[in-house]
């Protein structure tokens, strides 16, 4: 059984976000460029962390479709900064033993001769520990 209280505290501590500051205006999700590709949207991350639904978020592909574009961070009128919750939840997954969304051996087939190294280092930073 998950210790919901402990998991919620962990996400709040890793992210540094106070979800209780949210006033539910929805601007984060309205401004999210990748809204269509996310099972849970930025405003839902805030609400679900508040409700302790961390496991649902940890199991979601939305963790890997956030673009880290800082749009929801920039435009949040209450400085809740939802992308930090997405990152913290992803960390909860990636820090488990053996977890690695993008394994080095998966990269070779995705390369072409023009792909900048920046893409690979960024992807590793986002998709593994």
């Amino acid at each position: 059984m998950d210790d919901i209280k402990k998991m919620t505290e962990q996400v709040e501590r890793i992210s540094g976000v106070d979800v209780r500051k949210c006033m539910r205006c929805g601007k984060c999700s309205a401004t999210c460029p990748n809204y269509d590709e996310m099972e849970f949207h930025p405003h839902e991350f805030v609400y679900m962390v508040e409700r302790g639904k961390i496991r649902n978020l940890m199991d979601s592909k939305a963790l890997y479709t956030c673009l880290s574009c800082f749009a929801c961070i920039e435009r949040c009128p209450r400085q809740v900064e939802p992308a930090k919750l997405i990152e913290a939840t992803r960390m909860m997954v990636e820090r488990e033993k053996g977890a690695m969304h993008l394994k080095p051996e998966m990269v070779a087939e995705k390369l072409d001769d023009k792909l900048p190294q920046q893409a690979i280092v960024s992807a590793f930073r986002k998709y593994k520990k």
Partner: protein, 256 residues
């Protein structure tokens, strides 16, 4: 920058010399990691940025970047070192520097050096091949602008540094609403459809507003946009390539 983004690097250095400043590469630099570690308890992933900052401090220099991502990551890490006691203490404990680092180096993007140190008037005077009649869209993407309270490069919703740059080179800037929206970034390695869709929207918007081509400071934006079919109509170049062309240092065949 030594392989895939050569134009960004070489044209930036050439143009700097012509405009009266020289870029000195940090010896044995390490990659910043491409994206800022958002988790508050991440320390190891910030060390490469701190090493670059310490090298600049020890040389008594400002730290200038040509790439948007380096600027974004290093400036945010620098801000952590200046304002976050916990991160500063842990990093300094680990690095065991003779003089602890406190975030006191100035992190500048090449564009801000042109604007704030050289000045657009001086750039304009140095132009030999003005881009007369060219309609050019500045593509900011995310990393030059956000988070604006830390980066302080320009107004995050209505920036003008690229437009001023284009004007200084004699071109006509095209304002289009998607100029500060994300190209899809590293999701190219997760799901190619994401950057394909994002980039198509950006290029379509730029074309609708009349842009002949776009300029960017980010290798990943350049890649994602250029991979898109739409870039046949609206190609994407590094801003330094355009600068070197306008200054008469290196011709761009693409513009002939």
């Amino acid at each position: 920058m030594k392989t895939h983004a050569k134009d960004l690097d070489e044209c930036g250095r050439l143009s700097a010399k012509a405009l009266g400043f020289e870029l000195q590469e940090i010896e044995d630099w390490q990659c910043c990691g491409g994206t800022y570690p958002l988790a508050k308890d991440e320390i190891a992933t910030k060390l490469s940025s701190v090493r670059a900052l310490v090298a600049a401090r020890d040389a008594g220099q400002d730290l200038i970047t040509l790439c948007s991502a380096c600027f974004n990551v290093i400036k945010q890490v620098n801000n952590d070192m200046a304002t976050d006691n916990d991160i500063r203490t842990k990093v300094n404990n680990y690095m065991k520097l003779d003089t602890p680092y406190k975030g006191d180096v100035k992190v500048l993007h090449y564009l801000t050096v042109l604007r704030d140190t050289i000045g657009w008037d001086k750039v304009k005077e140095a132009v030999k091949n003005p881009l007369t009649g060219m309609k050019i869209g500045g593509y900011y993407g995310c990393l030059l602008l956000r988070p604006s309270n830390v980066l302080e490069l320009d107004d995050p919703e209505n920036p003008q540094i690229l437009e001023d740059f284009i004007r200084a080179l004699g071109g006509e800037p095209v304002i289009y609403s998607m100029r500060n929206e994300c190209c899809g970034a590293y999701t190219i390695l997760e799901d190619k459809k994401i950057p394909e869709k994002r980039s198509r929207k950006i290029l379509t918007n730029a074309q609708d507003m009349g842009a002949d081509f776009l300029i960017t400071a980010c290798p990943l934006c350049e890649y994602n946009l250029s991979q898109n079919e739409m870039s046949k109509d609206v190609p994407v170049y590094y801003f330094t390539k355009l600068l070197a062309h306008a200054l008469g240092l290196r011709d761009m065949e693409e513009l002939q």
